[in-house]
């Protein structure tokens, strides 16, 4: 299930100089905004939920998920260095699961943790808002990573497809076409946040909690299983 060497190679590649900087920009921005709102005393439960669902959950988490999920395997497949993992007596499921764990860890570090901090900065412990959105971010991180790791395994254009999904599908279609929101990781995570927050807070999801829970599990487990299957028959590129 887990191989420490695969994990080390993956996180060192993921957190290589430039990528780590890119990963830090968005969470830093979130914390900066939260701090400014607090400093200028404009903070309320409403402002907090808007910022945490509109920016954190809708933009920050999926973007970090795209970078970490596709970045955990895509570049290695692109340049062919994955051959050094594949030519070892390692189960393909071990390679995928390890990479998934690393991607999830990185996504939690750069999205769920900043969401929790931003929530506390904004409203403290009020209505459990900070905790609710952090839990939603954790769940969304896991599902996004599984989804984007699969994308990174099957497609050369994983980053583009991932961005289109995260930004166009979830953000744009989600607000225009009601049906699209049912198939949105963000909405599933919101369903959880809705449950955790107090009743006076305006957090609502397009899906019910049981549906959301089932879909989250299906996407995470199914995505991972499919990625393992694809890695088994991976054709190394750049050959005749």
């Amino acid at each position: 299930m887990y191989d420490p060497t695969v994990a080390r190679l993956t996180y060192r590649a993921l957190l290589g100089r430039r990528r780590a900087l890119i990963l830090m920009v968005l969470p830093a921005l979130l914390l900066l905004i939260a701090t400014l709102v607090r400093v200028f005393d404009a903070s309320s439960d409403d402002v907090a939920t808007q910022l945490l669902s509109g920016f954190a959950l809708a933009t920050l988490v999926p973007l970090i998920g795209v970078i970490a999920g596709t970045g955990a395997i895509g570049p290695e497949i692109d340049d062919g260095s994955i051959v050094y993992l594949l030519s070892k007596p390692l189960k393909r499921s071990t390679i995928i699961c390890t990479k998934l764990f690393v991607a999830i860890g990185v996504t939690l570090l750069f999205s769920a943790l900043p969401v929790l901090l931003a929530g506390f900065i904004l409203v403290g412990a009020s209505q459990q808002i900070a905790v609710a959105f952090a839990i939603a971010a954790v769940v969304a991180s896991i599902a996004y990573c599984a989804l984007f790791l699969l994308l990174g395994t099957v497609s050369r254009n994983a980053v583009v497809i991932g961005l289109v999904y995260a930004l166009v599908w979830e953000a744009l279609f989600g607000s225009l076409v009601p049906g699209a929101r049912t198939l949105s990781v963000q909405q599933w995570a919101l369903a959880l946040a809705e449950k955790v927050t107090g009743s006076g807070v305006d957090v609502s999801s397009a899906v019910s909690l049981p549906t959301a829970a089932v879909l989250l599990v299906v996407v995470t487990v199914g995505g991972t299983w499919f990625a393992v299957d694809r890695l088994r028959v991976l054709k190394l590129a750049g050959e005749e």
Binding site: D3, T5, Y84, L86, P89, K91, E240
Partner: protein, 305 residues
């Protein structure tokens, strides 16, 4: 001692047949896989390395199917052609990681041993991104040797190496072959293969064209009909004299070139007899040039042989 068996293996990509009904057995010692670029060498190596399934046929290592069988890598080391490695690691870290991935008991010692074998200790603590092509090749070698495999597959290992590095690697592969390991490397350069491999398999246009030791391959290559373009002071008289000799099979008067086109079937005899015949008929040879010496024509002859 390990043996790779390829039996009636074909591999196609869409409409393109890359490997066409090849049956080969690769046993202990050094074997060279020779063929022009695009002949299907990499496809064949990828099938032996477990990175491609044969479309039909079987590829096995000591009787065990290779495709979708991770356990074969305990016995197999692979040196890929592509450059990409984990460039952000040092050579030592990279080889160590490979040792760990194999689950070796003492990966540190195994890594150090492999680095010593390829004589890369002096640069082991530099980042791979700073390495020259030859250094990369040697670290790739070390990563493939770290678990002391009984089979070693190398795809175009000499590409881009300077002569000294080439000799070093040849010596290393020779030692491994002599120690009873099964070493297979691909190349499109006959001289390279000839220097190193006791046994040669020739692949042309996806087909297994020839097999044997290098003397046999050499002979096949030199014994083939050779074509020459000849100009002389009296082409017609020379043509008449040459066709009477057993060494030729056909002669054409090429009017536009004002020359003879001669097909020689006995290379050795023809090269000896031509000046003698010319002299005895008092003809001066002005041009004698082989007209089909390209490697491709040599290879295409082998396919039909």
């Amino acid at each position: 001692m390990s043996t790779i068996d390829i039996e009636h293996a074909s591999r196609w990509f869409g409409n393109v047949v890359a490997v066409n009904d090849v049956s080969v057995r690769i046993g202990p010692g050094v074997t060279g896989l020779l063929g022009p670029n695009g002949a299907g060498k990499s496809t064949l190596i990828n099938m032996m390395g477990g990175f491609l399934a044969p479309s039909v046929g079987t590829v096995t290592l000591d009787g065990e199917q290779i495709w979708r069988n991770e356990s074969i890598y305990r016995r197999m080391g692979i040196v890929p052609e592509r450059e990409a490695m984990y460039d952000f690691l040092t050579g030592r870290e990279f080889v160590l990681a490979n040792a760990e991935l194999h689950g070796l008991d003492d990966p540190g010692a195994a890594g150090a041993r492999a680095l010593a074998t390829v004589e890369m200790e002096y640069a082991a603590d530099r980042q791979i991104s700073t390495y020259s092509k030859g250094m990369r090749q040697r670290v790739k070698m070390a990563s493939a040797l770290v678990h002391e495999p009984s089979v070693l597959l190398l795809d175009e290992p000499f590409n881009g190496m300077d002569p000294r590095q080439r000799m070093q690697l040849m010596e290393l592969l020779r030692q491994m072959g002599a120690a009873g390991r099964t070493v297979l490397f691909s190349s499109h350069i006959l001289e390279e293969v000839e220097q190193l491999a006791a046994h040669i398999e020739v692949i042309v246009a996806g087909r297994h064209a020839a097999s044997g030791d290098f003397r046999r391959i050499r002979r096949l290559m030199t014994d083939r009909p050779h074509r020459y373009l000849i100009r002389s002071t009296d082409d017609r008289a020379l043509a008449a004299a040459l066709i009477a000799d057993d060494s030729t099979a056909g002669i054409e008067l090429d009017w536009s070139e004002k020359a003879l086109r001669v097909q020689a079937i006995d290379f050795g005899r023809f090269t000896r007899e031509l000046p003698r015949i010319a002299r005895s008929h008092d003809i001066r040879l002005l041009t004698v040039s082989p007209s089909d010496e390209s490697l491709e024509s040599v290879f295409s002859y082998l396919v039909s042989a």
